[in-house]
Symmetry: C2
Subunit: 463 residues, 2 copies
């Protein structure tokens, strides 16, 4: 009996090893019981028993009449499996998926964008009608490699206003701000490289960096930007290749970079040959523009990226990269190889929307509405014992500390049962030190139902 | 004097080594002359001379008043630098960039798409006007993780008509057919893996695979599909993870897969646990649909991808992946991590265009026009001694053999000087065995000017 068990274990081990080595890739059919028995030199009954046990373990799955298959979840780049295992419910991707799949009309203070009714709807309708009348090449052709020249000119002028000098040749359009950062990672990183991020930072940076199989190191964030001493120590200890940040309005904290911090970061970057990606997606929400690393540095080692998904429309995928001309040239090759080209349609619609005289007025209205929502949200959360880390000057995010003893992930799970999508702090924190925080989107926090659910869940979690 | 030269060489070597090891990354500022002298223990004048020589070599560049910088072109993932060095003018990316940057009205028989006037312009205008009236969430929100449900239903019905069984849940929308393949590569491949491609194949597959740092192995292509014996040998010799192909109308040859070849390929794939990506982008050009690997296999180990860039509009970026449900789940995570989401706008416009009653009629017209253009192009090329490898049943491509002794890359270079963009054979050939071939797009070969330029260049190259 013991010997038989050893033989079964040997078959199981052989199969597991091959799955781990991808000799049997995810979803692949395993050799038939008969073939496996022959290959490994065991009896058919031994292999049958080994396969059955592997099925019980979930390593393989049987399919009616067609044998056994390697189970799916161990696919090689299943992001949830890479790096330290996370609780799926505070996993960066989980928040994205919950927010993207939530009921359109339900309260979702955890999501990272404005409700549709806050977006530039009238401008989008005008832009679509204008593009419906565009010439046939605009409607039918691929974009040029850099993307629509007129839109790149508009972007260069916007940057100039923010003291970032970039020619239209130094700008490449992308399908989104995220794709912009993804292409830069492809360009500059190799698996195993180290990248600095703010702790906390936009949670999708974690997911993106995991997809590149690089190590993220978090630098504690202060109300003026990253902690400079910790930044210097991280440079010394980890020799990172890249630092990714938002310098305008920081996600999730809403903080803004101070000029002194910007200057010191750039000096440190110069000394360490660090490349910095500055994600400028929240620029149009600012009332008093913060300094831009790209402005101080002159696009030498700073790469600026942005998009209009938060202001014009998230339905319209169009972002950009502004960088050194020679880097843009290599990034174009990567963009063509991996996506063939950008969207002429998206860039035409965006151009029409941005150059529409209503956009400026629209954003003024949004800023005023957000300022009001910010104050109301602070008050309503205070009533629940939830306090902001800082009250941001602008933007949609409020980074809040929960009452002592409440775990944000527990709270998020409890609220999700009632349909309320929250954004628990550790999804934003590389060090997992933000278990007592939540990020609130003030534009998505005006619905009283959300506070009722939150209050009940807090009472439940506090027990 | 000799000793000084040795010292200068030592400094140059030290700098080169650090650049190669990326201790000094591309674009980084080098240590000052003084600092370098101190670090390396040489005199300032030795370092000055070494830096000047490295400038002369193009390894570093001086910048007025701010020292020396690592030159740009050696950036880590400059695709043109990866793998065997190619002649830039037969480089896959070169053809894309030439074709994308060519004069809109100039003849470009080398490009891979229809002229704008052949595309579904009226349908696009109607679709844009319809979407301009859509509800505000459609105009402003991110798409759901899989993408617009109604479009996925239409795609599932189209696939069912081609005997490919896929539920809408098994379909994920992407920003393009290329992005679809890119995501699959991210999901299934690791650097150093091997991928089979047809030889010749769509040239961008080469660029895409280089971006993933994997090895492409070409399998000779026959008028019925890949050579089955060579395919079996490649499986045995290289243990590839993936095979990427077009089974409908093959790019660049226009050939179609025979049922016998399809069956044998799938049997071999089953035996070797090979995953197959079937790019179905030319489906709507077919008059007599070829067998689909995805139909035979039932989306078990075959993944089907496609887009409508060749038929509806290339300005509209929208593609799809149909695969096993558990693979789709991991692909969604990757899509969110690297691009955040697809375009609600692009998918809405595509849905409106595809479900417009005019699309079917439009494609009938396109197929008829292509059939005429195919015959005319064959005749006009015959007059120049250029002969088709096969005359395809449908589609826009004609894979042609040049007169003996003519090199396609030389010819392409000569024609480009006169503004004519050609697609030389070796850009499509992993083995570089297609130096005597050109791919013609018959829809882009109706302009007499192109033949005049070609005739002159042929005469010149034949000397």
């Amino acid at each position: 009996m013991k010997e038989r068990r050893t033989r079964i274990d040997a078959v199981m081990e052989a199969v597991r090893t091959r799955i781990a080595a991808r000799a049997y890739p995810p979803g692949a059919r395993l050799p038939s019981v008969r073939a496996q028995a022959k290959t490994l030199g065991f009896s058919v009954s031994t292999v049958v028993e080994a396969y059955e046990r592997l099925v019980a373990e979930g390593v393989i799955t049987p399919r009616q009449g067609s044998g056994f298959y390697v189970a799916g979840p161990i696919a090689p780049l299943a992001l949830a499996e890479i790096g330290p295992r996370l609780d799926r419910q505070v996993d960066p991707l989980w928040i994205s998926r919950q927010a993207l799949e939530a009921e359109p009309d339900g309260p979702k203070p955890g999501c990272g964008w404005l409700p549709p009714s806050w977006m530039y709807e009238a401008g989008m309708r005008r832009a679509l009608r204008a593009v419906a009348r565009a010439d046939s090449a605009m409607l039918a052709d691929y974009a040029t490699p850099r993307g629509l020249p007129a839109l790149r000119q508009v972007l260069a002028r916007r940057m100039a206003a923010a003291k970032v000098e970039a020619t239209p040749e130094q700008i490449m359009l992308t399908d989104s701000g995220t794709q912009a950062i993804d292409l830069i990672c492809r360009f500059l990183l190799e698996p195993g490289d180290t990248v600095l991020v703010d702790d906390p930072c936009y949670f999708n940076f974690h997911a993106l960096l995991r997809a590149h199989r690089v190590n993220a190191v978090g630098v504690p964030f202060t109300p003026n930007g990253p902690d400079v001493a910790a930044f210097a120590a991280a440079l010394r200890d980890h020799s990172p290749r890249l630092y990714i940040t938002n310098s305008g309005i920081h996600n999730p904290t809403g903080a803004t970079l101070s000029p002194a911090t910007a200057h010191r970061l750039l000096s440190l970057a110069d000394d360490s040959d660090l490349v910095i990606v500055e994600d400028d997606i929240f620029a149009d929400f600012e009332t008093n523009p913060a300094p831009r690393l790209a402005a101080f540095d002159g696009l030498r080692r700073v790469i600026q990226v942005g998009s209009f998904s938060k202001t014009v429309s998230a339905a319209l995928r169009c972002g950009y990269i502004a960088a050194r001309a020679d880097w843009i040239d290599s990034l174009i090759d990567l963009k063509l190889a991996t996506g063939f080209g950008g969207s002429q349609l998206a860039s035409s619609v965006l151009l029409a929307a941005l150059t529409d005289s209503g956009y400026r007025k629209h954003m003024e209205t949004v800023r005023t509405r957000l300022a009001g929502a910010m104050l109301r949200t602070v008050d309503r959360l205070a009533a629940l014992g939830i306090t902001p880390w800082i009250v941001p000057q602008a933007g949609m995010f409020l980074w809040c500390r929960l009452p002592a003893g409440i775990d944000a992930a527990d709270l998020a799970r409890a609220c999700l049962r009632d349909g309320l999508v929250l954004a628990p702090g550790n999804a934003f924190s590389q060090s997992h030190s933000a278990g007592g925080f939540l990020r609130f989107n003030v534009a998505q926090s005006e619905d009283g139902r959300g506070y009722d659910i939150l209050a009940r869940a807090l009472a439940g979690c506090g027990n």
